[in-house]
């Protein structure tokens, strides 16, 4: 089957930024393929998109497994026949001082945050090349990849790798016919499960998170979803290789 609608694939779509991005792209009229590991939460996101009149399907897979990516790529090529947007949002986080961080923990996060994006971009480009889609790939990095953050000895360098990888991928993707765009989208501290699970869900944490921002409010998932919509669409048709920052001014100084 070939679909006439524009098609978007979002990894990590079962929670946090991925979920918000999937819902926003559904609203924008994309046929959204929601990738994730948890089928129950996947079904919830699909029904949230359908509840607003959008079209979506869930595809269960592990972003760290190359075979899973190959299967998904084949599925998209044969079912949808195009891929206009890929949001590589799946990732992990932990905060720990370096002397207490094991090499296994470091490698684990590197696999989850960097290898997943490398695989995603690789197979995203293959799908876009083989279906001649003038696509846009959006890799979710972090402000932590641009500035140093205490106790983020694994996360900060992993996100820096995502940012730099995206620049190289942008140069290669520009050579495709039609060209594909690749950008990293780098949130500051966004009020999400990732933060509350690590630091707790309290007024104190909220105040601390807000205080570091220049703009005196916390970042919301919608803020990142809005930027995803900008980088996905034709309004950014000449934007590639950039490291877009949405951080309430947290990192500017």
């Amino acid at each position: 089957m070939m679909v006439a609608l524009k098609v978007a694939l979002v990894t990590g779509a079962t929670s946090g930024i991925g979920r918000a991005a999937a819902i926003r792209l559904g609203r924008e009229g994309y046929h959204v393929i929601c990738g994730g590991r948890n089928a129950e939460r996947g079904a919830e996101v699909v029904s949230a998109i359908e509840g607003e009149g959008g079209i979506a399907r869930f595809h269960a897979f592990d972003v760290m497994e190359e075979e899973d990516w190959a299967t998904l790529a084949q599925s998209i090529i044969s079912r949808e026949g195009r891929l206009d947007v890929l949001v590589n949002s799946a990732g992990g986080f932990f905060s720990k001082p370096l002397p207490d961080t094991s090499l296994e923990e470091f490698r684990g996060l590197w696999t989850m945050d960097v290898e997943s994006v490398v695989l995603g971009t690789k197979y995203g480009l293959r799908i876009m090349r083989d279906t001649r889609s003038a696509g846009s790939i959006i890799n979710i990095g972090s402000l932590a990849g641009l500035i140093g953050i205490e106790d983020c000895v694994a996360y900060s360098p992993a996100k820096a790798a995502v940012i730099q990888f995206s620049k190289v991928a942008a140069l290669e993707a520009a050579r495709l016919d039609p060209p594909v765009r690749v950008n990293s989208l780098n949130p500051g501290v966004i009020w999400s499960d990732m933060i509350t699970q690590s630091y707790g869900d309290s007024d104190e944490v909220r105040a601390f998170v807000m205080d570091g921002n220049a703009l005196q409010r916390v970042g919301e998932l919608e803020d990142i979803a809005n930027a995803v919509a900008y980088l996905a669409g034709p309004q950014s048709r000449l934007v590639t290789g950039t490291a877009m920052v949405v951080d309430g001014g947290r990192g500017a100084d």
Binding site: A214, R217, L238
Partner: protein, 252 residues
């Protein structure tokens, strides 16, 4: 919640509904495209330029021109919600041989012009509400971040503008206002300014942009699209940032 965030989808398409936005350098190029796009998307564009024929004559170097344009805008629409500080010029040539008065002239338009305008527009926004709301977009250039032999005066002025967006954006936010300041950094763009600055035929020759990964120079509309995004509530958590629109040109 003291800020606007929950958006209906229509806000993504008609992003600046009802907002009153002052645009400098609006007679041509990026400024003209931005003013037109603001109107197309439900906003009120107050188009100004040093050349007569638009809403106001505004030489950005003249404090009284700013005061008059803002006063007239407030008299007519009762507020100012945004500023696109865009007026600029270009001066090429080896900096070693560049006459000091030409260097100063360029900085007066770009740097002092933006400073005068932002100072006055922020003062007006603060009269309108506490905390104050608004969005300011400065037209900078990727040359504010990457070196450009032969254009050192232009590039250094743009570097000043890029940092101005960062410094003022952070300063206003920390003072509790929701006035956001961001810069756009275009690479090569088809505008009358560029056509005039480059050798005859250069901008029309696709070979001129062979080193742009996406293979083409931007149109004024491409830059205006990003300015509109930064003016809209879609970017309400963005301040002190630089949005690059260069087809990948500055990557390598």
């Amino acid at each position: 919640m003291g800020y606007e965030l929950r958006l209906k989808i229509k806000d993504g398409v008609r992003a600046v509904d009802g907002k009153v936005i002052l645009v400098t350098g609006a007679a041509s190029g990026i400024g003209a495209a931005t003013a037109r796009m603001i109107k197309e998307r439900g906003g009120i564009a107050v188009a100004t330029d040093i050349q007569p024929g638009l809403d106001h004559v505004l030489d950005v170097r003249q404090p009284d021109h700013w005061d008059a344009a803002i006063e007239a805008t407030v008299a007519k629409y009762s507020r100012v919600d945004g500023l696109v500080s865009n007026a600029g010029t270009m001066s090429a040539g080896s900096i070693i041989d560049l006459k000091m008065d030409r260097f100063r002239a360029l900085n007066r338009i770009h740097v002092e012009g933006a400073f005068l305008g932002i100072q006055r527009v922020v003062a007006q926004m603060r009269k309108q509400s506490t905390p104050a709301y608004g969005s300011i977009v400065i037209t900078s250039s990727v040359m504010g971040q990457v070196p450009m032999p032969g254009l050192a005066s232009y590039a250094s002025a743009k570097a000043a503008l890029t940092n101005m967006a960062k410094s003022i954006g952070v300063e206003l936010g920390r003072k509790g206002d929701f006035i956001r300041v961001n810069a756009v950094a275009p690479g090569p763009v088809h505008t009358p300014l560029m056509v005039e600055a480059m050798p005859p035929g250069y901008m029309d020759d696709p070979a001129s942009f062979a080193d742009v990964p996406l293979g083409e120079a931007a149109n004024a509309d491409d830059v205006a699209e990003t300015i509109l995004f930064l003016l809209s509530n879609e970017s309400s958590f963005m301040t002190g940032g630089v949005s690059v629109i260069d087809g990948g040109w500055s990557l390598s």
